[in-house]
Structures are given as C-alpha cells and as structure tokens.
Amino acid sequence: MHIPDGYLSPGTSLVFYAGMVPVWYIASRMVEKTVKVKELPLLALGGAFAFVIMMFNIPVPGGSSGHMVGSTIVAVVLGPWAGVVAMSLTLALQALLFADGGITTFGANSFNMAFVASFSGYYLYRALSALMPNRRPLAAGLAAYAAINLSALAAAMELGVQPLIATGAGGRPLYAPYPLAVAIPAMTAPHLLFFGPVEALGTSLVVSYVMKEGGLKERGKRSGPAWAFLVLLVLLTPLGLLASGSPWGEWGRVELSRLIGYVPAGMERFNGWKGVMSRYTLPWAGGGVEGAAFYAFSAALGSLCVVLLVFLWGKLWRR
Amino acid sequence: MKEEVYRLQGVSFSYGASLAVKDVSFAVGRGETLAVIGANGSGKSTLLKILDCLIHPSAGIMSFLGERLSEETIKGGLGRRFRERVGFVFAEPDVQLFSPTVFDELAFGPLQLGLSGDEVRRRCEELLDALGISTLGDRPPYTLSSGEKKKVAIASVLAINPEVLLLDEPTNGLDPRAQVWLHELIQGLKGLKTFIIATHDLSMVGDLTDRAIVLDEAHGIAADGPSTEILGDRDLLLRTNIIHEHAHRHGDVVHIHGHSTNSTHDEHEK
C-alpha cells in the first residue's frame, strides 16, 4: 500500500503534507500530555516494532502467507496519537532508507497507514470490545480488518483521482494513470479478500496472546470517548461520499470539487499550468528566444530568493 | 568515614506486588569502591536504579550529599546537580547507545547538561583518545562489537565527569582483553571517583573493591563489610546463592568445591 514517488501529483502530495503537519504536531503534544514527557523512546520503539512486524509472514489457510501492517496493534498498545507518530516514523524510515514508499508521497502514506488506520483501528477496537467484552481478540481482528481496508480505500482514492486532476497533452495522465473505477477495485479487492484477513488474523492472534500472557499494559489514555470516533467518521465522510456517490469514472473535475468541497486552489492552479502546456507551446508569452531568456531570468531570480532565505534562516538558526 | 555521598535508611521498592528491594540501609563515603553482590534477581539492578534516582523507593529515606532525594526534589533544582554528579553504566550497552555516531553518543550527556558545544567537542576528543577508541568516533554504535559497545557506553558516562559511577554488571559479555581494559580503568580512577558496582564476578570484587554489600534472595542486606572478609565467608556466599557446590572432575578424582555462578550471563531477557 506504500505509494511510491511519482504516483501522486505535487498538488496532492502537498495537500496531504499540509493535512498531516497539524496531525503530527497535535500528536506530539498529545503524546507529551497523555503518555509522558519522556516517552520518546517508546514512540521510536513502537515504530521499530511496526517495522519488524511487517517482516513476519503469517501463514494462512491454503499454504499461503502474507504480512501485516500492524497499525491497529500499535494504536491499541500505544494509544491512537502515539500510534500515528510511531507508524509515521516507520513509514519515514521505509521511504528514506529502503525505497519503500516515497518522499513526496510520505504525507499521503502517513495519512492512509498512520492516521486513518490508527484512529479507525483504535476507536473501532474500543467500541467493539465494549460490545463484546469477552472477545477482545475478535474485536481487535475486526477493527484491524476495517482499518486496513479504510486505508486501502483512501490510497485508492488518492491514486484514482490523479487522472482527473492532473493531465497533460490531450488529457493523457501524468501520474497514477487509472481512474477511480479501476483504482478502487484494484486496490480494495486484494485488501478485502487477502490482506484484510491477514491483518485481522495477525492482530487477533497477537492480542489474544498478549491477553493470555498478560504483562503488557495498554499505554494509551484509558477513556474511549465516543465523540472522537464521531469526529473521525465526520473526517472520513468525504471519502465515503466519494465511494458511494456517482458511477465510477464519470466525474468531471467540477463534480469532484463539488463533492469534496475543498479541492485546493493550488491543485487547480497547477492544472492550469498543465493545461497551457498541453498545447505543446511554451508557457511564456510568444515563445522564442527572448521569451526563453526572460523565463530563465525569472527562474534565476526565484532561486536567488531561495538562497537568500536559506542564508538568513541559517543565520537565525545558529543563534 | 570520609564525607558521605549516599545514605539510605530502610529503603524498599516493589514492582507491583513483587518486592525487589527490602528494607535496605547503608551509607557510602566519597572515594569508596563498593561492590553490591547477590544472586540473579536479588535486586542489584533495582538498587542501582534507585541510587541513580531513576525509580523511587516505595518506602524509606535516601539522601545524596546531605540532601534528601525524592521524586519531588529530583524534578526541582536538585535534578541537574544530581545528574552532573552521578553516572550510570547500564548492564546492556544497547539500551544506552542511541545516537548516530560514537562521538554523538559521548556528547549526548554533556550537551543535555548544558555544556557549550566547543567544550563538549574538546572533552569527547580527549576521552576517545584516553580510552583508546578514537578510531571509533565516526562509527554508528550499533555496528560495534559487544566489547567496543561497552567501552563506548562507559565513555559516554565518563564524558559527564561524574563524581559517582554506578556500574551494573560491567564485565558481562566482555572478552578477557576488554575485562583487563575495564580493570585498568577502574584502578586508574580508584579513589578519585566513588564506585558502586553491582556484579557477580567475584574476581572483580576481590581485585577492585574495598567493601561489599551482599543481597540475599529475600532482597535484603545479608552482609556489609570489607571485600576480603566477605569473600572469605564461604557459608554466607553459599547461603545467598552467589556460589554453589559444584562437581568437578580432575582425572579420576571428583571433588566438590564452591564455584561462582558467574560462568554465564543468561539473566537478560531473550
């Protein structure tokens, strides 16, 4: 489910970074409050655990085996906010050092596998284990199944909207090329049928083992406020609308923006640029040598500003 | 006795329902080298963590240089002064090495305690040089051998220049050469620093320490006296399960004698 670099348009990437920055910030503050100020190593080790758990292949009926992501376990053990940070650390490590996922898509991957999966997994687990207090492993398994599928759905959405929001000459896709009608089934079917059950199985196995052996306390804040789950549902509603709205693939950009309501201005503008380029004319007026020179000049001016900013920032940083 | 560094009165500690340290009282003078010996699970490590104020006694009073040590005072003004004066070398070097390079590892303590960058750099370079590990400076700590890891862990604590050094099982997992290195280091600093060493390596107790405290399996103090006396008391050592009767075969003769339990170091979780 790790989306590599180059699959999402810069606009999409930026939107998810912008969305995740406050989440990371709040998460780091929440962790300081709810866990303890000095629990930095716990987060790091939570991340390391998730990383290692992905290495384990779980045997499933039929002689096959698959690996899990572990977001739900980490969220159940550490609490959802710490879970978000721990999973993001895992993803950052995978993207940077092991070329699994990407740098520009790190925001989106964190949204799917850290944010969506941790919160939905955690609160579903709390809600379900309140309903069936004696069958917590089952509750954890079901929560993990839902969480992994929700994050797969989120990833499918992100990939599937690419042909709608960023196209080049003659409408040819520039990033992930398949429309929602293809991306959603292609992404969700394996998760509904294979990875979801593996995740559910792995999670409930671990939870039942930990419960049986005891010795590991859940570190997250105890209260499972129902309102937080509601907030999560509200947050996920746009995704739900996308999933159940109009027939696949017939969305225009207008309808998409009406549905989501917040197609960012940057993304629109970005399309504008691509639109100009699509006519195979250079984007600056008139073209020709002067135009090119003018364009190069403004690019040079821009990079001079960047250098100046970095220089000043370095000066400030030192103090 | 010289100036008192530590004084413990009736200190106890329990993990949940299980008692780990029971009603322990003793004092440590400046410049002493004190061994804490006892069987696995007798509470040596826990006692050291209490002495480093990492965990707090559930009962009893502990003072450091005349000041009362508690969860409250360590969070207040005492905390910084205490951390500058007391260094703790963990049994497992891996938990102590978490920085990108050996140099950063050495710098971590002094930097947290607010020393200036230049001062810290100078200190780390001198220390690497003095301990003969200057070639390791740029290496990531997790790529080191276990002996090197131990050296770096000790160096990272020495970098703070503490007055008191708490060493938890320092010879565990060390090859003979590294053990010699450690003996020489402690010998060199003996008298200048106060050492409290938790160990079940009896050769270390005899060679390096002046005084020994024996913890029994009920987690209390079974004996407290000069190291030579303690090591001479075979019954005490047998009773506290520090040595055990051991069948040995020399040719055709089987004879029974006391033997330290230190031959392996299997008490760490697998």
């Binding site: 590599p4 939570g46 376990i73 940077l96 083992y209 | 951390r83 990108p100 947290q112």
Partner: protein
C-alpha cells in the same frame, strides 16, 4: 547432573522425510524479508571524496529534495530526461557507481512497469494501434503515457537513491535535523537503531524455528508460533523502551533533546541549493 539415556545416544536419522518441510514457506519468506532488509541497510559503500559528500548535509538534503520536486512537477519527457541526466552526472561526480544507483531504483521501476503496462492498451488509451494482441490493441499514445510515468518514477527514486548512497547515515540524520523538528529526527534515528536490534531477535526466532522443524506443521500451531513470537517482540519492545528512557534520563535528558549547534552554510552549499532551486523553477514551466 543426570543426563537422560536417550540424550547420550546417537541421533536417529531417517525418521523425518524431505517432503515434510511443506507448510514452512512462511518461515522462509520471513527470513527472506529480513535478509533483504539487512542487504538494503548495509548495501552501501560510502565513498567520501565526491561533490555531493562535500556539501553540508542540510544543504545536500534540501538541494536533492528540490530536484525531486522538479521531477514531480515535470510535464514533459524532456524535463525528466534532464533530471535523470543530472542525477547521473551528480552520481559520477560523487563516486557513486551507476550500477548501485540502478539496483536501488530497480524495484520501483519494475513495479511501476507492471502497474502501467495495461495503460498502453486501447481500452485505457485510445489512439493509433501499433500492435494487436488478440482483441486488445497497443496504442502509441498508451505506450508514451506509460513510459512517461515510468520515467518520472525512475527520476524521483533515482534521486532519493543517490542521496542515500552519497550520505553516511549519521550525516543524513544530522541534515534532517535542520529541516524537521529535532523531536522527530531523534525519534526517527532511534527507530532505525532499534529496528536492527528487534530484527536480529526476529531473525533468531525464525532461524530457531527452521532448525527445529523436522516434520510438516499444522496451520494452527504455525499461527500460534507467530502470535507468541510477535507477543514476545512486543514485550521486548516495551522493556527496551523503558530502559532506554532511563538511560537517557540518567544522562540528563529532560524531554527536549539538546544537540550541537549546526555550523553555518558555506558558499558552496548555497550554490548547490541555488542550482537545485533554479532547476526546480525551470521545471515549473517545462
């Protein structure tokens, strides 16, 4: 100590049979995963004397990220070719062998090639057919679309790979510290560091199982094995976390990491950032 009689006897052979290894594929796959992780982690020859290596880590990261974004923005093949060429030139100047660069880029390229292959069919991309396979036609437009996406993925992952190959890990984390809040960088490094420790434990567990498994195993037992090992690793995780916290507190950590103040950037570093941002600005319009 009394040794049981059977333990003194020679071990019996021939009781298990070769075919009985069936069902242990998940162990091999787990070990395979761990092996490829270790290879990925250690498969780097850091060569010190190159151009990229001489750039201050912070500037190196910022500059490469600018180039990655340039590749992300590119709307034409020409821009992507320029970025790829720049990557190759930088690699050569930095003493990073192209083979190694390719090796790290390969997984993403292979995956993407498979993923985009259907886009070349007329079903997805209408256009002039260049090849007919059964009922489906491969269109020129489709092929171009697919190649373009592959080129972009290659350019972007190639740049990331170059950054990794031209940086010592310590430099990388030091550089990140200038870009990301140090809370996260420290946590990230510690994650990295303890992944190794836990990974070693996991490997030992899997190897121990493989060495003991003689006859085929039942699914339930195999799943129980997974559960108990994961539970153990989880508990080990928690106990290491506690110890590490204490070890940090013992050395004066109070919740906020203090580090060396970073050195200022030199002219060379600023020039590198400037050049990279120039490429980024150029790519916006190209």
């Amino acid at each position: 100590m009394k040794i049981p009689g059977w333990l003194r006897e020679e071990s019996a052979s021939g009781r298990g049979n070769e075919a009985a290894f069936k069902g242990e594929g998940f162990i091999d796959r787990t070990l395979g995963n761990i092996a490829s992780f270790m290879e990925g982690a250690f498969d780097r020859e850091y060569s010190p004397g190159g151009v990229l290596q001489s750039i201050e880590p912070r500037a190196r990261i910022i500059g490469i990220f600018f180039l990655v974004f340039a590749a992300a923005l590119a709307g034409r093949a020409l821009t992507l070719i320029a970025v790829v060429s720049l990557t190759v030139v930088l690699a050569l100047l930095s003493g990073v062998r192209i083979g190694r660069l390719l090796k790290r880029t390969m997984p993403a390229l292979v995956f993407t090639s498979i993923m985009v292959a259907p886009i070349s069919l007329s079903f997805f991309t209408p256009g002039s057919a260049v090849l007919n396979i059964g009922g489906a036609a491969v269109t020129g437009e489709g092929v171009r679309t697919g190649l373009f996406i592959i080129a972009r993925v290659g350019a972007m992952s190639g740049l990331t790979a170059l950054l990794m190959l031209a940086s010592r890990q310590a430099d990388l984390f030091r550089g990140l510290r200038g870009v990301v809040p140090s809370f996260f960088v420290t946590a990230l490094f510690m994650t990295y560091r303890y992944v190794f420790m836990l990974m070693k434990t996991a490997e030992d567990m899997a190897l121990a199982r493989r060495s003991r498994t003689i006859t085929g195993t039942k699914l339930r037992e195999a799943q129980g094995w997974f559960a108990s090992r994961t539970g153990l690793i989880l508990r080990k995780t928690a106990s290491i976390a506690d110890e590490v916290t204490l070890a940090m507190v013992s050395r004066g950590f109070e919740g906020k990491i203090r580090t060396f103040e970073s050195k200022g950037m030199r002219g060379k570093d600023l020039i590198f950032i400037g050049t990279a941002s120039f490429a980024l600005f150029l790519s916006i319009g190209l």
